[in-house]
Each structure stands twice: as structure tokens, then as C-alpha cells.
Symmetry: D2
Subunit: 349 residues, 4 copies
């Protein structure tokens, strides 16, 4: 019963096979190979427009270099208080932008409220060098706590961004899970709602290591080759990332895997709802389920072989968890089996 | 006839297979898995002491984070003028150290001369804040131009480092090629000669993407987990790097592959020496061969399918190349076949 | 009626005169002159121990370089949410540390509560590279909103720092005002309570430009000459800063000036307390008075020649100000006259 | 006999007086005062166009922030090998740009030769992320070794810059000395020859601390307020810098002082030329004289009270100095008296 994280899973066999297939032969390095170019073309098709794609090594890199690409002296990116960018990148965004800052914006269930965001932006008076200035906004889709922005909500945030001359970044570490859940197209979830830059994650959804930074307007990516290189994120044998993405996209594998993970999460929700000992902290919409239970229950589940993390309650939801209780995160992935879910279901019945 | 670079080769089948073998199942992330730990243990065995190992995404990262680990305010690392660190990392060392500088030291055939190094260090008067201060020395083994430091030369440099309180870094992007050529052990080529930090490269020698930063004294690596994370170099599915190294080290595969590459380079040298149209620029000792030929000859070879780069003559060797001539670099790898070499040999005969 | 800021005042005549006195003649540059050395000695006497003193150009520089001196990769300094370091330095602390972060800690009337600070430190699990790690704590004395930490409160914070291996920095932009108010010695307010590094401000208290970074333990300041230089904060004609401090300290001028500013603030409080239209937001203890009044009243006062800033209510005190009201900051200085205060008193009577 | 540096001199009485004059009264902070604005207007007049002016604390800051204003990821500024920017700023340019690099260009007597500069720029192939990319060029006027670029030489460099899309920065730490020597106008020596950004130094020529960054096109300076603040270079009582510049410019004082310094240097040259024991290293054109003498002679002069520095021979001129000789630097200033010069003259006669 592995619910610790989707990055505990391995690689999907089709992705592993494709790596193997491309193992032999010679190809030019640093992202210039035929395979690299072909995969870039696939990105164009998937996003229904010409985009600029940059492979990087980690989600942290994608998120941080996105900020670097929009960085301004004394600049500040606004993101939800619980965003990975703010809480979990070990200072990489600040470091890899050369000192930009992150400004936390509150909002329930992992999403910035538009009013809070508006107020936060307004809090920076134009030209006030002491406070610094906004340089961008970042949303996470699906969010850190398994919820989603609906398309209209993304559009509202991007409208606010446009008014204030701010580019909009989307942290899509679990992009596919969100996409499948909303049942919309990649274009719909991004540039059609005004998203400018996307951290496109493949690692959590069945790749070994496949993260890409996608610029909806290639003209905005002119500095990126230099930003990537100086950040030590340019792979020499870049085609090994490309090979993963090739298999990932082939025959819609990526959506299939995300769909499976989401379905497993829904199945898990069913068990939790039916249970007397656990309750859902909030309604999950992707592949992360948060549940509240007595501390003893959690301990017991751990002992019986369920692997998951206790989670610090989000700031806006901290009232949901009583003193004797704990919040836990249960993450499903392409590799989660219905049997595992049901075994857990039995434990908590 | 692929001699452009050893990073144009793919992955050795045994390495690709091992990745496949570890594709399934769950394992804890961020370098904590059983496989990660086992491979760290293998590093200990190979270096005959307990070392601290950090996987990173690129050779640029390994070299840059090595500098970050020894960085001091207003610090300067001394390296050969032609070092990758100075010429080919796109400013990553400066950026990822938060502004450290690199000081070029001259010396023939890719190696710092001890006298020049001594003079360069002496050029920084103690406490002179205007000039800054040395913070480390970096050697490349094998060098950028296919030559080697002999063990005694490394020892002499490290003695100078000790006198001046400077840690010694080795850029081992082609560590295995050097090792095989010298016929010594990893311990002999590193800490027994006073090397403190090693960029251990596997990518150019048959891996997809396997680079490690090795600290000979783990106590000196205490900040590294934080340095790696803030530099966005911590892989979530770290075990996929570990899997490559596992196969790389198994049954001495790494030495076998490097030995093959070196042998191919030697075979190539034989053809060049026998040729009337080409001459060796200097004696190669690893898997990179530099040859001088008429510009027309180079053009002709390119047209006949030989893939290689024209090379800017190193500063200390710039007199070797006449106006109508060009210097070219020919790199062999684990994937180079004797047939390729001989075909090239026929072309230049 | 100038209450905009103490940095709107000029220089005290004695300080101006002393600059004049040292205008002629030759002296060695970069902080090595006899006068520089004499003033460093005066700092030793004032702090009753050997300290290390570094003149810098601005309070922002003092605060930022203090952080740089304790910076660690992925490091975080904890400070009150309203601290200058967090809200008003334009990102200089993040920039001049090479990417360190600041973590806001709440607490009433401008002071971190010890419980919040404890919880914040605890929030960083040891070795958690994703969250980063605490590298220091910073208190402001007097605070941004004219209140004070009592000596016991500083001692409690420093005890917590010691337990967690964290150096304690004090932002003393208004150090003298706090000192006079508490009636203690510089040693009492700093190292005797466990303060390690002090931003010692003279500019707001009658100097032109005289800011110093003071390390209570000179051994902790070994990198500072290099940190200062690489941050472009090393004055060539450093003696002109020294000359200001010489006059500042002579015959206790600095305490006299701060005493005057505080007395003017107290006089202002008297008028406000007696007034029907204004009320004190909280009890001031140094030279900054915060008052709440109807927006109309503020407008009226501005029109009648009172110069002051409307102030954003601090987070912990935001409930104090009604919708039709405004919070204003009134700052007194060495140059404030009783007549000015009383004229303002008449306006609000 | 003070020839150590022009920054060993104090402040000219008229500048000191003007500081005094502005000591009293209240004025708005951070560069917004009436006096600040008036001095900005004076800069416009002096440069015969609307310029953008930013006061900073040190010449190091002016030079470094100039680079920050033109910084690009993986960017490189080209400057003479002996430039202050490269040799004497303690890494501040690299640090305050967030990791930009400096590329040394050779050329005799302190000036980049146009051919070397052209070759250096050409050495960076467009789009080559490994090598990085030029982001600007910097000239020093007068140079580090007391020579000058003639107007046509500046124009030739700026033409090359234009062709390559590179802004041209001038380090004018001794701007006035160069100006007086060339007998041209500030506009002639800067924007009329294509200079974009100027470090305008007043400190070495009779101010306490008055350095300004001047952008010939204010539109290029839009980020500068933020760059200056995040670099901790924004003075609160900025008017004290303005007051120095006010006096500096009044009635052409600045040109008078520079003229005096230059005249003293010329007088010194006369003595050296007439001497049997010293010879000029090269013809000085501003206020720095470099002379070669036997080591014993230098020692003797020091003992007789002449204060000056032994100087490391510039790379291109290293052949001029024999083994038993030393190169020394003799700097004159506004405060140098003819008597001092003649006393030195007697010593070396």
C-alpha cells in the first residue's frame, strides 16, 4: 500500500522500453538531435500552437527557471502560501533567479483567492523600491493538496495578471492529473486561459525523469537557452529525456496513466467516505487524497503496512484538524493497483 | 565515423538493461532508496574509503557545485585557462557559487604548470579585498585536450594547495579514460595524491545521465544536500541514476568501456601518424585525439562522412597551427568501432 | 511640523563641524586611517569589549551584510513579519546573501512572540532540504513601530537561538533611541543578552551617513572585509564616516540627541492623549508615535502643514483601525523642536 | 609628499562648506529632495541632454551596477585586462550582477586595442550557450595607468559595440582628469562618441563621497531604482551627496581641481625626465605618473618621506621593468602642492 508519493513509483514499461530503443546509435548533443526536435514538434501539436520547450532535470528546476525567465531586480512572484515554489524548493527559486522573492497569497483548499491576489498585488505601490515589485504570478495545477483551479478561475487570475503586466506561470508537476480531471485540452488549461509559462511534469506520472519548461510564446523564451545552461540544467544526452516524452505522449499514454491515478484516488475516497474512522479533509479532484483520522489510527495503519505521510495542515484549513487527530496525504499513481486501494479500504472499514 | 564527441554516443546495453530492471516497484525518493544506498557503498569500495556521493544532472552541475561547496566571499578558483570550468560552462560556476570567480592559469598541453600556479596564487596578497582571494584549485583529468596529469604532478599541485589552505577539485568528466590510461586505482588518482573533491562523470562513458560529486572527506560535504537542492539538482527518482551507476561499476564495465575508447583513440593515432596529410597536434593519452591538417583536407573529410569539430587552438599551442591549417578534435567512445577508425584511416592514408 | 521620518532631518552641527575639521590633510584609504582606528577603539569602549566594526553606506547594507555573514545554503533568517528586513529593503537581504530567505514571525506590537518564534524554528525539520534551514534570527530595537523588546525578552530570544545554534542579529537603526528609553548600556542591550551582530545606525540620529555593522565576537567577522568589498560597501575615504562617529560619540552626544527625540515623542503623546480626535495606537517607547484618527482629520492636518505618513496597520494590529480611520506615523528626531510639537498639539486639541 | 592615491586626499573646502550649509533643515529622503532634483538638473546641463543620474556609495558600486543594468543570463562584459572592474573590485561586478563574467582584453598602455576587442567579441559565437555571450564593453577614462583614449578611439570602440548590439560603459573614476586633459566637453567624451553609461566619480577629485551612475538615455535606466535599492546603495539622506556635487560643479570647481592635479602630474614628469635615476614608464596624460627606478632608489625615497605604491607592471608592459627595478605609481590630486612636487624633484635630481 504505497501512498507516500507518486515519485516513489518507477517508470512505466512503455517509457522504459523506449529509452532502451534509443540507447544505441549516435545523435548530436545538447538538445539538437532529431529525436529532440521531433518531441518538440509533439509539444506543438499537444498545445495546438508553436511553443518553446526546454527539458530540465527536476520540477524544482522547471519552477525556478520559469521565475528566472521573468525575473526583474527587486522582483516578487506571488503564489499560494502552500505552493511548492514557496515551501518545498529549498530556496531554489530565490537562488536561481539571483535573489527574487516569493510572496505568499492565502486562499482556501490550496488556491489563491482572487481577492487576496488582487490585494497582494495592490500592496506593491508602483515604483516603491523599498517594497519591491511584482514580477509574476504562479498557480499550481493540480494544487499541492489535490484540488484544482477551474478554467474560469485561471482566466480570472490571468485577467488580473494582464491588468498588472504580470506573466502567469503554472506549476504543472501534476498537469496530466488536472487535465484528465477537468476533461479539457492542454491548450484550454493553459494559454487559452492566459497561462504564459508552464512547468510540465512527466516524472510523477510514469517517467524516470522528464520535466519540461514550456513557453506559450516562444518570443518570451529568448534568454532561456542561456538561463538553462548557466543553471547547469542542459543535458548533453538530452535525447534520453526526449525518448521518455516520446513514449509518454504516444497513443495518449500520459492521459491514460493520469486517468488511472485519478481513478485510484476516487476509489480511495469511496473507502474513506464509507469508513467510520477516517474522513476526507476536502474533496480531492486529482490523485492526492487528504484524510483526517485519530493519531492512533494513523499509527495503526502504518504498522499494518500502509505507507503515507502525515501532513502539516494547510494554513487556511488548520482548523479542520483536532488536537488528537492527524492529517495524512495519500497519493496514487499510474502504478497504484485497485487491490492496494481495496486492501487499505479493508483496514479502515 | 562519429568523432564529434563522446556525448553523441548513446547508452551501453548493460546500463540500459539495468534501468529497465529497476523500472518497476516503489522506492523512496530523493536519494534515500535501497539502491541509492547500495551504490553509495560501491563508491566507498571503489575509492577504498568512506566518501560522500551526490548525484547531479550534468557535468556542469558537478563542477559548479564543487565550487559552491568551497565558495568564500570574493573567492577565486584557479584552473587551467582552457578548463571546461572557465570556457564551457556558460557561467554556471560563477552563477551557482553566487559570484565566485575563475582565474586562468597557463601551461602547455592543457595542464597548469606548477610555476604558473604558484605565481597565480602568490598574486593574491593575503587580506587584499580588492583582488579577492583564492578559494580552490581545479584540475581536469583527463584534460580538455586529451592529455593527462601524471600522479606526481597531481601530488605537486595538491602540495601547493595544502601550503595555501586551498582544496583541490578534479574535473573527472573523463575520469575513467584517465584512470585506464595511467593504470592506477581511483584512490591513487584522487585522495592519495591530495584530491579533495571529484566530479565523477559517467555520461561520456556509456551512461545516459550519470554524474556524481564525490567528497573524499564526508565531513567537508555537510552543506552539500542543501547546496544541491537549492541548485535544483536533487532528483526525485534518484534511483534511476543509481541504477546506471550500478551497472556501470558491475564487473568493471566502466573500465572496460574506457579502455575500449582509449584503444580506439590509439588506433586512430596510428593512422594519423602513418598519414601524409594529417599530423598529431600532441600525443593523446586518453580518448581525444587532436590533429592538424589543411583546411581543405578537413572539408574533404567532412564531405566523406567523418563527423568531428574544428577546434580553437589552445592558447599555449596556438603557434602549432599554420594559417591554412585547422586543428580538429576526434573523440572516441565506448561505441566507437575499429571499422570506423579504419575507414577514417583509409580516408587519410 | 516635520514628522515624516527621522531621515528627513539633516546633520547635527557638531557632526557637520567635525567633518569639516577632518576635511584637510592626507589619510590612508579604505578604513586604515588613524581616525578610523581611533573610532574603532571608541566602539570597543562603548561596548565594553573588543568588537569588530565595519562601516557601510546604508542601514539596508548593514542589515543585509549581517545576513550575508551568517548565510548558509538554503538558509532562512527569522524576523518579525513587519521587520524592515522583510518589508522595506527591496530584496537586498535576499540579493546580498546570494539567495537566502526571510521567514516572517508574528507577534503583537512589532515584536516576535517567543512562542511563535519557537514554533517557526521547529517548523524546519533538521536536514529537510526541501524546506531549507534556519540560519539566524533578527530583532529590531526599537521596533518598526516604536516599541521595544525589554532586556529579558531579548535574553529569552537569544536563549532560544543558542539552543538551536542560531546567531542573533539586532537591527539597530534606532539603537540609541531604544538605549535611552531602557536606560541601559550598549553592552546590556546587546551581547549581555546574547546579541551577536548589530546594525548600528547613526544616520537617523543626527549623522549624514553613518552606519556600522558591529560583531560582538571579532572571530565571527573574518569574512566580513571580503563580504563588504564584494558588496561595494567599502568607502575609500572611510575616515569621513569615522569623523561623523567621532563627533557622535564625543561627550555622549548620541545619547543626548536620542534623548531629545524620545522626549519630543513623549510630549507628542501627551498632546494626543489629551486630544479628542486622535488616539494612540499603542504606547510608544522611543521616537515613533502611531496614532489613529478619522481620515478627514488626517487630511485636515496635512493641509495645515503637518508632514507625516499614513501607515499600513501592522498585521497583528489591523483590527485597531476602523474603516473610516487611518493609522499615521509621527517620527521625532534630534531636530524636532518643542514648538513644533506644541503647534501640532494645538491643531489636534 | 603624498602620492599614494588621490583617495588619500580629503575634501576641498568649498565642498565641505556646502555640506555644512545644507546640514540644517528638513528634506525628503531617498533622493527626492529639492537639492537632489536641482543637482540632477545640473547633470543634464553638463551633459547637454537629459540624463538619468543615480548616486551610489562607491566607485565599485557605480561600476558594478552599470554592469547589473545591462546584465543578461550567461553574459560577459569585455574590458581591458587591467581594468579596475577586473582586477580591483573584489568580485563585486560578478556578485552584484548575479553572476555575470568579465572577459579581459589586452592592449598597450592600459587601453584595449580595437583589434583585440573585435577578436574577443568574435570569439563568442552567437547562441553558443557554453561560452556565454557578450553583454557590454567597458572602457576606463582616464585609464588605470594614467593614459587616455582619444575621442576617435572611443568612437571606434562604440561603433564596434553598435555593430554587435553591445552597450558601452565608461568607468570615469577620474573622469574630470581625462576631460581636462583632452580639453573637450563631457558630452564630447561620452554620448557623442557613443558611450551609454558612465560611472562619474567625484570622490578622487575633492569630494568626500560622491559617485554617480549616469545613463545617457534615461529610458535605459528604468530598472535602476530597483537595482540600486536591492544592492543597498540608496542613501536615505541622499541630499548630502547632492550637496557635494552642487559645490563640485559650481563655477567649474571640478575642472579647476582636475586641472590642478593634472598640472601637478606634469610638473612631476618634468622632474622625472630631468632625473638620472628615474624614467617615465610611459607618457602620463592625467594625474597618475608611473616611473621605473632601481629598487634601492624606491626604498630610499620611501625612507625620505615620499609616500607611493610599488606597482605590478601591466601585462602588456611587463618587459619594461628590469629585475632590479621597480615600477611605482605616483598620484597627484587637487590637494597636491607644487612644493611637494619640487621636494620630490630634489630627492631624485
Amino acid at each position: 500500500m504505497h501512498f507516500a508519493s507518486d515519485n516513489w513509483a518507477g517508470a512505466h514499461p512503455k517509457i522504459a522500453e523506449n529509452l532502451n530503443k534509443h540507447a544505441s546509435g549516435f545523435a548530436s548533443a545538447y538538445g539538437t538531435s532529431t529525436l529532440d526536435k521531433a518531441v518538440e514538434q509533439t509539444f506543438n501539436e499537444i498545445f495546438e500552437r508553436e511553443v518553446a520547450v526546454f527539458f530540465v532535470a527536476t520540477g524544482t528546476a522547471a519552477n525556478s527557471l520559469a521565475q528566472a525567465s521573468i525575473a526583474k531586480p527587486a522582483g516578487v512572484t506571488l503564489a499560494h502560501r502552500g505552493a511548492h515554489l514557496i515551501e518545498d524548493e529549498g530556496g531554489a527559486p530565490e537562488f536561481l533567479t539571483g535573489g527574487a522573492r516569493l510572496h505568499p497569497v492565502d486562499g482556501p483548499i490550496g488556491r489563491m483567492s482572487i481577492d487576496n491576489l488582487k490585494a497582494a498585488i495592490k500592496g506593491f505601490a508602483p515604483g516603491d523600491v523599498h517594497a519591491g515589485r511584482p514580477m509574476g504570478v504562479s498557480v499550481t495545477q493540480s494544487t499541492e493538496i489535490g484540488t484544482l483551479y477551474d478554467l474560469g478561475e485561471i482566466a480570472a487570475i490571468s485577467a488580473l495578471c494582464r491588468e498588472n503586466g504580470l506573466p502567469l506561470h503554472m506549476d504543472g508537476a501534476r498537469f496530466a492529473n488536472a487535465l484528465v480531471s477537468l476533461g479539457c485540452s492542454p491548450a484550454d488549461m493553459t494559454w487559452r486561459q492566459g497561462v504564459d509559462i508552464l512547468s510540465f511534469g512527466g516524472t510523477k506520472n510514469g517517467c524516470w525523469c522528464a520535466e519540461a519548461l514550456v513557453f506559450m510564446d516562444p518570443a518570451k523564451a529568448r534568454d532561456m537557452p542561456f538561463i538553462r545552461k548557466r543553471s547547469a540544467q542542459l543535458f548533453s544526452k538530452s535525447r534520453f529525456i526526449a525518448a521518455q516524452f516520446e513514449a509518454y505522449f504516444a497513443d495518449g499514454l500520459w492521459l491514460e496513466l493520469a486517468g488511472h491515478a485519478n481513478a485510484m484516488a476516487a476509489r480511495l475516497c469511496g473507502h474513506i467516505t464509507a469508513s467510520n474512522t477516517l474522513r476526507l479533509a476536502w474533496q480531492p479532484r486529482a490523485n492526492e487524497v487528504f484524510a483526517i483520522m485519530a493519531k492512533d489510527t494513523a499509527k495503526n495503519l502504518h504498522e499494518r503496512g500502509a505507507v503515507f505521510y502525515d501532513w502539516k495542515p494547510p494554513y487556511s484549513e488548520r482548523h479542520l484538524v483536532d488536537e488528537n487527530e492527524t492529517l495524512v496525504r495519500l497519493v496514487t499513481s499510474f502504478a497504484t493497483s485497485p487491490e492496494e486501494i481495496d486492501r487499505f479500504g479493508e483496514l479502515i472499514a
